[in-house]
C-alpha cells in the first residue's frame, strides 16, 4: 500500500482552512497518511490530524518559510518515508514550493490545481485555459506530487486514532535565495483563493473610496474583496484583488459582482463559483447571462440595501 504525504500549510502559526480538504481526501483514500508540519510544537495541530498514520514534525531554530530549506526537507521526507504521493493545497506558497520539491525529487511529476484525483489509475483532472476547458492527465512518474484547488474537495470532519509522531530536522542547505524582508500589506485581506464569499467591484464602482461600500458587506459575510481588471487598471483596486484569466481564479460558494460587465476574461476567473450574483444597471450586461441571480439597478443603491437586509437576517 502506497503512502501518501500531505503538506500542512501554516499561516501565522495556524493551520490553513483548506488543509481540511487535503486531509479529508487523503484519509478517504485508504492509504497510510503522513502529514508534514513545520513546527517545533505539533500539539495544537494534533486534533485536526486525527486519523492520519504519522505526523512528521519538522523542527528547526528558525522555521520561517525559506523555499530552499523547505523544498530540500520535503524531498528528503518523501524519500525517507517512501511517499508515493505528496499533496498540498494550491496556495500562493505552494506555487513557489511545490515545483521546487518536484525538481528535487527523483522521478517525480507535479500537477497543480487538481479538481479530481483518481489514485487508483493515477489520473487527475484540472482546468486549462483558465477553466475554459478541462483536461484529464495520466501521471506515470513514480512519485506523484499534486496540489488541490481550494474549495473543491469535500471536507469530512473527525477521524479516529491518534497519529504516531516522527521528528525531522529542517534541512539547512546552502540557500540560493535570501529573503531580506517580508513587507505586509496595510489592509488585512482575506485570501481570495480560499474565501467562501467574494464581493467584487468593477469599473461601475467609479472610485477607490467607493470600495468601502463593498467592504461593509464583506465584513458582514466575512468575504474577500475582488475586482475586475478595469477597476485595477483605473487604480480603484490593487492587482492582488484582480479576478480573471490574468488575475486570480477563484472558487467561492458565493460571488457577488457589482458594476462588472462580465467579459470573458473576468468570467473564467469566477465561473466555478457555486452561486453568482450580479448587480448591474445595464440589463443587457453579459454578466446576467452567467449569473444565478441578477439585480438590475444602481449598485450605489442596491449595495447599501443589501447590507441592511443582510444585517437584518444574519
Amino acid at each position: 500500500m502506497a503512502n501518501i504525504g500531505l503538506y500542512i500549510e501554516l499561516k501565522e502559526g495556524k493551520s490553513k482552512k483548506s488543509n481540511k480538504e487535503t486531509l479529508s481526501f487523503a484519509k478517504k483514500s485508504g492509504k497510510a497518511v503522513y502529514a508534514v508540519v513545520f513546527t517545533n510544537d505539533v500539539g495544537p495541530y494534533l486534533d485536526e490530524l486525527k486519523g492520519v498514520k504519522k505526523v512528521i514534525q519538522v523542527k528547526g531554530d528558525d522555521l520561517t518559510y525559506q523555499p530552499d530549506f523547505y523544498a530540500d526537507t520535503m524531498a528528503k521526507i518523501i524519500k525517507d518515508f517512501d511517499l508515493e504521493y505528496f499533496l498540498g493545497i494550491f496556495s500562493a506558497q505552494a506555487r513557489d514550493l511545490f515545483p521546487r520539491i518536484a525538481a528535487r525529487t527523483e522521478d517525480a511529476g507535479l500537477i497543480n490545481d487538481c479538481l479530481e484525483i483518481d489514485l487508483e489509475n493515477n489520473q487527475v483532472a484540472r482546468p486549462v485555459y483558465a477553466g475554459k476547458l478541462l483536461c484529464r492527465y495520466a501521471i506515470e512518474d513514480k512519485i506523484k506530487i499534486l496540489t488541490l484547488r481550494p474549495n473543491v474537495f469535500p471536507v469530512e470532519e473527525g477521524g479516529a486514532g491518534d497519529p504516531e509522531i516522527a521528528t525531522v530536522d529542517l534541512v539547512k542547505s546552502e540557500p540560493k535565495i535570501k529573503i531580506l524582508e517580508v513587507i505586509k500589506s496595510e489592509a488585512k485581506k482575506i485570501d481570495l483563493q480560499e474565501a467562501d464569499v467574494i464581493i467584487s467591484g468593477g469599473r461601475g464602482i467609479k472610485t477607490k473610496e467607493n470600495f468601502a461600500l463593498l467592504q461593509e458587506v464583506a465584513d458582514l459575510l466575512n468575504a474577500g474583496i475582488g475586482a475586475s481588471r478595469a477597476a485595477v487598471d483605473s487604480e480603484y483596486a490593487t492587482y492582488d484583488m484582480q479576478v480573471g484569466q490574468t488575475g486570480k481564479v477563484v472558487n467561492p460558494k458565493l460571488y457577488i459582482a457589482c458594476g462588472i460587465s462580465g467579459a470573458i476574461q473576468h468570467f473564467v476567473g469566477m465561473k466555478t463559483s457555486r452561486v453568482i450574483v450580479a448587480i448591474n444597471k445595464d440589463p443587457e450586461a453579459p454578466i446576467f447571462k452567467k449569473a444565478d441571480y441578477g439585480i438590475v439597478g444602481d449598485l450605489f443603491k442596491a449595495v447599501p440595501l443589501l447590507k441592511e437586509e443582510l444585517k437584518a437576517v444574519l
Binding site: 501521471i139 513587507i183 500589506s185 470573458i264 440595501l305 437576517v313
Partner: protein, 256 residues
C-alpha cells in the same frame, strides 16, 4: 550581460475555445499572442539591457511553427536574438524546462533569465522553477519589482493578498514576471522592419538531448466543463428585489 527571455505563444484571452478530437483545441479563428506574463518578462529584459551597456536580449520559445509570429513580435519589441525549439508534439513541463535549460546552457555566459509567472494555456505554474533547478540557479517568481544593487539582483515577490517578500539573488538567476512589474512596450514600425531580418536559430528537441518529450505526464482527454443553467433576474422595486435576493441566497441556494 546575455539576458534571456523564455516566452510562449498562447491563444488570445478573448478566444472561445472548442475541442477537436478530444485531445487538442480547434485552432481555426484563434489569434495567437505572446503569453501576457511573458510580455512583462520581455519588457523587463529590455529595460535591463538599456541600463547595462553591451548587453543583448535573446528570446527562447519552444513550440510549433506558428510560434514564429510571436518570436518576431519579441524581436520587434527590441530583442536581438531568438531561439526557436520547434516541435509539434505535446510536451510536458519537465521536458520543456529541460529543453529550455539545455538551449540556454549553450551560452556559457547567460545572465538573468526572465519568464512569466504562468502560461495562460495550461496554467501549470512550474516551468520557471523547474528550469532554475535544472540550471542549478536561484529563482523567484510572481515578481513585481526588479533591480540591481551592486552585483546582486533584488526583487519583490507578491506572496499573499498584497504582502510582499523582498529577495536577494546572485546572477545568473530566474525571474518570473507578473503584472505590476512594468508596462510592456509596443513594437515600433522600425522594430518590426528590423525584426524581419533577424535570423531565428532553430533547434530540435533531439539536438537538446530530449528523447522522450512526454516524460511522466500525459494528457488523455480535453473536454468542455459542464455548462451552468441560465440564471434569473429578480424583478421588482430595488428594495423588494434585494430582499428577495437575500431570501433566495439563504433558502434556495443555501449559501448564507
Amino acid at each position: 550581460m546575455n539576458i534571456y527571455v523564455c516566452m510562449k505563444q498562447v491563444p488570445d484571452t478573448e478566444a472561445s475555445l472548442t475541442v477537436k478530437d478530444g485531445k487538442s483545441i480547434n485552432e481555426e479563428n484563434i489569434k495567437w499572442v505572446i503569453n501576457p506574463y511573458d510580455e512583462y518578462a520581455i519588457e523587463e529584459a529590455l529595460k535591463l539591457k538599456e541600463k547595462e551597456p553591451g548587453s543583448a536580449v535573446t528570446v527562447v520559445t519552444l513550440g510549433p511553427a506558428r510560434s514564429e509570429s510571436s518570436i518576431r513580435t519579441g524581436l520587434a519589441m527590441g530583442a536581438e536574438h531568438a531561439v526557436h525549439i520547434e516541435t509539434d508534439e505535446y510536451i510536458h513541463h519537465k521536458a520543456t524546462a529541460k529543453a529550455l535549460a539545455n538551449a540556454i546552457k549553450q551560452d556559457e555566459n547567460y545572465g538573468v533569465i526572465f519568464l512569466g509567472k504562468q502560461a495562460i494555456d495550461e496554467d501549470s505554474y512550474q516551468t520557471h522553477i523547474l528550469l532554475a533547478d535544472y540550471l542549478g540557479i536561484p529563482a523567484a517568481t510572481n515578481i513585481t519589482a526588479f533591480s540591481f544593487e551592486g552585483d546582486k539582483v533584488i526583487v519583490e515577490r507578491e506572496i499573499d493578498e498584497g504582502a510582499k517578500e523582498k529577495i536577494e539573488m546572485t546572477v545568473p538567476c530566474i525571474v518570473g514576471a507578473t503584472k505590476g512589474l512594468n508596462e510592456p512596450r509596443y513594437a515600433s514600425l522600425m522594430g518590426i522592419m528590423k525584426a524581419k531580418k533577424i535570423p531565428i536559430k532553430k533547434l530540435t528537441l533531439k539536438e537538446l538531448g530530449i528523447e522522450d518529450a512526454s516524460i511522466g505526464i500525459k494528457p488523455l482527454k480535453l473536454y468542455a466543463p459542464p455548462e451552468k443553467p441560465p440564471g434569473r433576474i429578480i424583478e421588482g422595486e430595488l428594495e423588494d428585489s434585494v430582499k428577495e435576493l437575500v431570501r433566495l441566497l439563504k433558502e434556495e441556494a443555501k449559501v448564507l
